[in-house]
Every structure is written in C-alpha cells, then in structure tokens.
C-alpha cells in the first residue's frame, strides 16, 4: 500500500524583513528555519512561523486562495501573492527572502499602508456611469464584453503598482492598478463617462509616466497584461476609444 510516495519534507530558511514601529527605528532581516512540504506555499511558512515560532510576525491574509488580494509581498525580490507561491517553485537550496511590497509606507513587518494605493483607485471613478435609468438590463454583446475582459480580473492586491519603478520614486503617479481599473470601464460599452477617466489619466501623473518597464505585467498574480492595458489607454487618450 506504499505506492503513494510519502510527501517530501525539507528545511527551508526564510529571511523576513521585520519592522515594529514601536521598538525599531529601522527594518531588519530575521531568519527562520521552517520544516516544509513541497506542496506548501510561502503563506504556509508564514503561518508556521506566526503560530509556532514567533507570534509577533505580522502580515495580511484573508481568503488564502489568490482571490482577496491581501497577501501581496516581495518574495525573492519579486512581487507575488504568498498564497499562490509554491515552495516547489522556489530555489530552496538558498534562503527565501520575504519582505513587504515597496513604494507604500511600511506599517509593520509585511504590512504596508494601502491608503495611497486605494486613493489613486478611487480617483479614476471605478464604477459604471450611465445616464439610463436602472429599469432594465444593459445589453452587451460577447464581443463587447471581451474587449475589457482581461482587466476585470484585477483583485487590487497592489503587486503591479508596487513593482513599478516610476511609482517607487513618484508616489503621485496613479500606478498600473488604477489604470487597469480605468481601462475596465473605459472600454465597457455600457459606460458613458470614458472621456472623464481619459482626461484624468491624461494629467501630469497619468499614463504618460509609464515607461513600459513590464514589471507590472510580470508581477500580476492574475496574469493581466497590465502594460498592454496601459498602452491601450494611452492610445485611447490620443485617438479616442475604439
């Protein structure tokens, strides 16, 4: 009955960037050796540390299944969701570095202040605007729906915006996530206020700040082609929505 091989277990070293605003003046790196299975995720390692080793370790997580967007963090220098990063996909012969996402104010350990991120999101009017009275459904063809399908996948985890080098140095920049969510409504055939959003994103801190670095597309845990969406918004500013 032993044809099912025992799941392999091994020791993985995690080096986590810690910061407690009440006692520390500067963040510091702390390492933890954790017994892991190849089926585990980075989030499981954080749980093991918090539950069994050091209860003061602070991080956000809600659904733990890649939908709520709470646990975006920098894992080995790349923005990932801890709940979607499998141990077997990391090089565990070396330590795994985990730190908070960059460009937003660090609050504690792996937690940052997300308010500037959501402020930019709110500025682009992320809701359907239409003059029709809500008496019957808005008709939309599958082709019209497909036009903005990619950008409906966003979970607002901030992995893209905090991987953007422009956002790191220019906190005023709207950032990829806000533009993605503007794209979702700009190209929605039912929405009537695309021009308002385009005018907002045509501002000094709007889409023209984008340097096409592709960090955001690489970082998106939902596989959204973020840089492509930004390029489409640039084209829409220049030529109108098509």
């Amino acid at each position: 009955m032993s044809d099912i091989a025992e799941v392999q277990s091994f020791t993985v070293t995690f080096i986590i960037r810690r910061f407690n605003p009440e006692t520390d003046t500067e963040p510091y790196w702390q390492d933890f050796d954790v017994q892991m299975y190849s089926t585990d995720r980075v989030l499981d390692a954080l749980h093991k540390i918090k539950w069994d080793v050091d209860g003061t370790l602070s991080f956000r997580r809600s659904c733990a299944h890649g939908i709520c967007g709470s646990d975006a963090m920098r894992i080995n220098g790349r923005n990932r969701l801890a709940c979607k990063t499998l141990i077997k996909d990391l090089d565990i012969s070396k330590p795994v570095y985990v730190e908070a996402i960059k460009g937003l104010p660090l609050e504690k350990d792996l937690i940052v202040d997300m308010e500037p991120f959501f402020a930019a999101y709110r500025e682009i009017n992320p809701f359907l605007q239409t003059s029709a009275k809500p008496e019957k459904e808005h008709i939309q063809s599958p082709e019209q729906r497909a036009r903005f399908d990619d950008t409906t996948k966003c979970i607002l985890c901030a992995a893209c915006t905090t991987s953007c080098p422009v956002f790191w140095t220019d906190g005023q920049y709207f950032g990829p996530a806000a533009i993605v969510n503007a794209h979702r409504f700009i190209f929605d055939s039912r929405d009537e206020e695309a021009q308002v959003r385009l005018d907002i994103l045509n501002s000094k801190e709007g889409v023209w700040r984008c340097r096409t670095t592709f960090n955001c597309s690489e970082a998106c845990p939902r596989g959204i082609e973020v840089t492509k969406a930004i390029a489409e918004v640039k084209q829409a500013v220049l030529r109108g929505v098509r």
Binding site: T169, N202, S203, G206, W208
Partner: protein, 133 residues
C-alpha cells in the same frame, strides 16, 4: 494652451523623433564610415566638403536637434525619477536645458557658418585644399 500637456507631448515626441533618428543615424554612419574609403577618408576636408552642401547641412541640423532634444528629454525623465530633493532636481533640470540649448545653438551655427578657408588667415593654419591667397 489649456490642453497642452508636457508629458503627453514628450511621449509623442520620443516616439516620432526615435523613428526619424533611426533613419538619420544609420544614414550618417554609413555615409561617414562605410562609403568612399570608409573611416580612413574622414578628415577636415571630408567634413568641410559635406558641410558645404545644403542637403548635408539640413540633414546634420535635423540630426543634431532631434538627437539633442530626444536625449535631453530622456535625461529629464531620469532626473525626475532619481533625484528626490526638489531644489537639486530643479537645478539639474535648469543645467540640462541650458547645456542642451547651448549645444543646439553652437552646433547649428557651425553647420551653417563653417568656412574652412577664412580670408586673411595665415596659410600655415589653413588646410591644404584652400586656394593660396
């Protein structure tokens, strides 16, 4: 000018000038370095000969302006990205604009006013192709 947007204008300029510069730069390189004896043929007479021709004057001036403005706009974004102290950033931008403007003015002057054989200069300072006074 209410709708003028420097970032948008810059973004468009970089793409337009970039496409033109590819043509200009490779034409410049092939004419100077490959054709007619190649790189060894370049000397004062070669340059003076080119700058005596109105076609190459306008070609070189276009290349000069586009390359300098394209490069300066790139430097502007680099400065905006990396320099966080506001006064230092402003200072660098002023220096960038001043040096770019100086190079454009001097370059344009040279292209249109170059006289390889100025009248009244001592013969030993003039290139050999100049008519002996």
């Amino acid at each position: 000018m209410k709708n003028f947007n420097l970032e948008k204008a810059g973004w468009l300029f970089m793409r337009g000038s970039g496409a033109v510069l590819i043509v200009l730069i490779f034409t410049h390189l092939s004419v100077n370095l490959l054709s007619d004896g190649g790189v060894k043929a370049i000397d004062f007479a070669f340059v003076a000969g080119k700058l005596a021709n109105p076609f190459w004057q306008w070609f070189d001036v276009t290349l000069l302006w586009l390359a300098l403005i394209h490069g300066a706009n790139g430097m502007r974004t680099v400065i905006n990205d990396y320099v966080l102290r506001e006064k230092f950033r402003k200072g660098l931008l002023v220096a960038l604009v001043a040096s770019t403007a100086l190079l454009i003015v001097m370059g344009t002057l040279v292209v249109f006013t170059l006289d390889p054989c100025p009248v009244g200069s001592p013969a030993e300072l003039l290139p050999s192709f100049c008519p002996v006074a």
